[in-house]
Amino acid sequence: MAATTTPLLSVQDLRVRFSTDEGIADAVDGVSFEVREGETLAVVGESGSGKSVSSLAVMGLVPRPPGEVVGGRVLFRGRDGDVRDLLRLPPRALRRIRGDEIAMVFQEPMSSLNPVYTLGEQIAETVRLHQGKERRAALRVAGEMLALLGIPDPDARLSAYPHQISGGMAQRVMIAMALACRPRLLIADEPSTALDVTIQAQVLDLIARMKREIGMAVLFITHHLGVVAEIADRVAVMYAGRVVEQAPTAALFATPRMPYTQGLLRSVPRLSTGCAAPARLEAIPGEAPSPFRQPAGCSFAPRCAHALPGTCDAAVPAMEACSTDHAVRCARWRALAGVPA
């Protein structure tokens, strides 16, 4: 989709720190990305990369203590056209935006639903809160939402309780709740991870369809590169608290520049569809660094086959543009890509 001049969401140099008995961890260490109007940005990373904490920080939901947002800006352009820094908004004003203009869907749908209220009451609550509709009108919106999501027999579902539905259905109800106020941005944190593949396919199709119908933007947090390839317009790859590569989806899969991205793509098992028999999986040696003991330079250097002592372990490389809309955090990307400096 066409990019407008100011992005819908612009996260700039975000820093989140966790203070625990084990020490201080910079879980998010200067993260910047933007989500443009109507696009899907996937933030992909492995556990501990900081992808979920980044999305929680955007919503002002970092648990405090032990967490604390220690720096950065989260600029969101509202329906009224004003750009606000969500990190500096008073809690009341943030609550007005959250659930209305920005909505969220989490990984565990069952633990996000209240077991003692019907599904209808829970979806309608959002509508009553943000749109000031009375109970019956709000329930009608909830029913319309379920019908829009293609849920069979929506009226019966409204009076059902969470324990009466499956995990896949629960995730669809969460999506209905998130979309009831027609948000401009949906933050989806691993929404399909706990689901079986055939149900995951239904949920991904649903999010893509709703994105078209409502015209919203999606910030999609996932660890699954297959899911990224299916739904994202652009991708930000995170590693050890930092964004290490950012690119349009096609460019990222075709010409990954960061050795970590390259390694990640090679370690994903793929179904053999063509004639080539799948070779051995190429694993990335070693493990991600502990957030309490980050290496001095590039955080991927200890696992990187291309790491150069004196260069890669000296300083954290800066994010550098390597082509249009494609940026990478690697001191050696030019040498590795055969591009003259």
Binding site: E46, V227, A229, P269, L281
Partner: protein
């Protein structure tokens, strides 16, 4: 198959369920409802299915961690389905399990040495502490961990390292057969590849026979020689891995394969979207278990349960529709 290590025939396992707060009106969940397969010596059989398909119950039952309701489990020539605890003892050493969650599978109060020495003590495989330490060090080396890991406790290790320890423990008493139940599902992609490669290497080196249970078809295709697909307590298809993934014969296998997200934005997307959820195993449909979600279903599919039969050499499918090739002509899927 010339040299069969494990042969399972007509395996059934039901679990009683209580309905309502006062335990009235109890029914039964037919978790495994007449499953038959065989695993050759040195072979890796992948067992694939979604949650509730009964794959884990099959794994636990063939190890006799659960007692089957019916059926035969012939391990190396002996039917162990009806054996009591004493009768099973000689088989316990030869069959081991690798768990899904490496965090809860290890006792947090035991050092790695204690955890790995336990099976050696139980089966009296190493008489002295020095012999046990030597064996534990060898096991750790086998899974790519330093001998110094012995003195440490599980919390000091990452998920990938703990899964290596779990594999080392399963190998401690030199088993012939290992059931690995979702051994890599809890791991990150880059670590998952390390553990899959490790299992493949160990199979080569030790001649292990594996039942590899997983929900991720792409992982299973990498490691397994043959794949069995389960749905609602039944095996619906068995075939050699590549053949099954390239040209599935059962409509459920085709739908499952088409739902796997492909890590390639340029790949053509042909997805068969299944409507609804898997029926409850407490109340399965008559006839073919998949017919309620199958787009090829005919009225006849409700009449009798289709048998798993050999439709081509080495290819077994439980579907009465011989006239269709389910992998062809699925609807084109729209891309944004």
């Amino acid at each position: 198959m010339t040299d069969v290590l494990l042969e399972v025939e007509g395996l059934r396992k039901t679990f009683p369920v209580r309905r309502g707060p006062f335990g009235r009106g109890g029914g039964a969940v037919r978790a495994v409802d007449g499953v038959s397969f065989a695993i050759g010596r040195g072979e890796i059989l992948g067992l694939v299915g979604e949650s509730g398909s009964g794959k884990t119950t099959v794994g636990r039952t063939v190890l006799r961690a659960l007692a089957p309701d019916a059926g035969r489990i012939v391990f190396d020539g002996t039917d162990i389905a009806g054996l009591d605890a004493a009768g099973l003892r000689p088989f316990r050493r030869r069959m081991q399990l690798v768990f899904q969650d490496p965090f809860s599978a290890l006792n947090p109060r035991l050092t790695i040495e204690q955890a790995l020495a336990e099976p050696l003590l139980i089966h009296r495989l190493a008489p002295t502490r020095a012999a046990r330490q030597e064996r534990v060090a060898a096991l750790l080396a086998m899974v790519g961990l330093p001998a110094a890991a012995m003195q440490r406790f599980p919390h000091a290790f990452s998920g990938g390292q703990r899964q290596r320890i779990g594999i080392a423990r399963a190998l401690a008493c030199e088993p012939d057969f290992i059931v690995a139940d979702e051994p890599v599902s809890a791991l990150d992609v880059s670590i998952q590849a390390q553990v899959v490669n490790l299992l493949a290497d160990l199979r080569e080196r030790l001649g292990l026979t594996l039942l590899f249970i997983a929900h991720d078809l792409a992982v299973v295709e990498y490691i397994a020689d043959r794949i069995a697909v389960m749905y609602l307590g039944h095996i619906v298809e068995i075939a050699e891995s590549r053949a099954l993934c390239r040209r599935p014969l059962h409509p459920y296998t085709a739908a499952l394969l088409s739902a796997v997200p492909v890590p390639d934005p340029a790949a053509p997307r042909r997805r068969i979207v299944l409507e609804g959820d898997m029926p409850s195993p407490a109340n399965p449909p008559s006839g073919c278990p998949f017919r309620t979600r199958c787009r090829h279903a005919l009225p006849a599919c409700a009449d009798a349960r289709p048998v798993l039969r050999e439709v081509a050499p080495g290819r077994f499918s439980a579907c009465i529709r011989d006239d269709i090739v389910p992998s062809e002509a699925p609807e084109e899927r729209r891309r944004d």
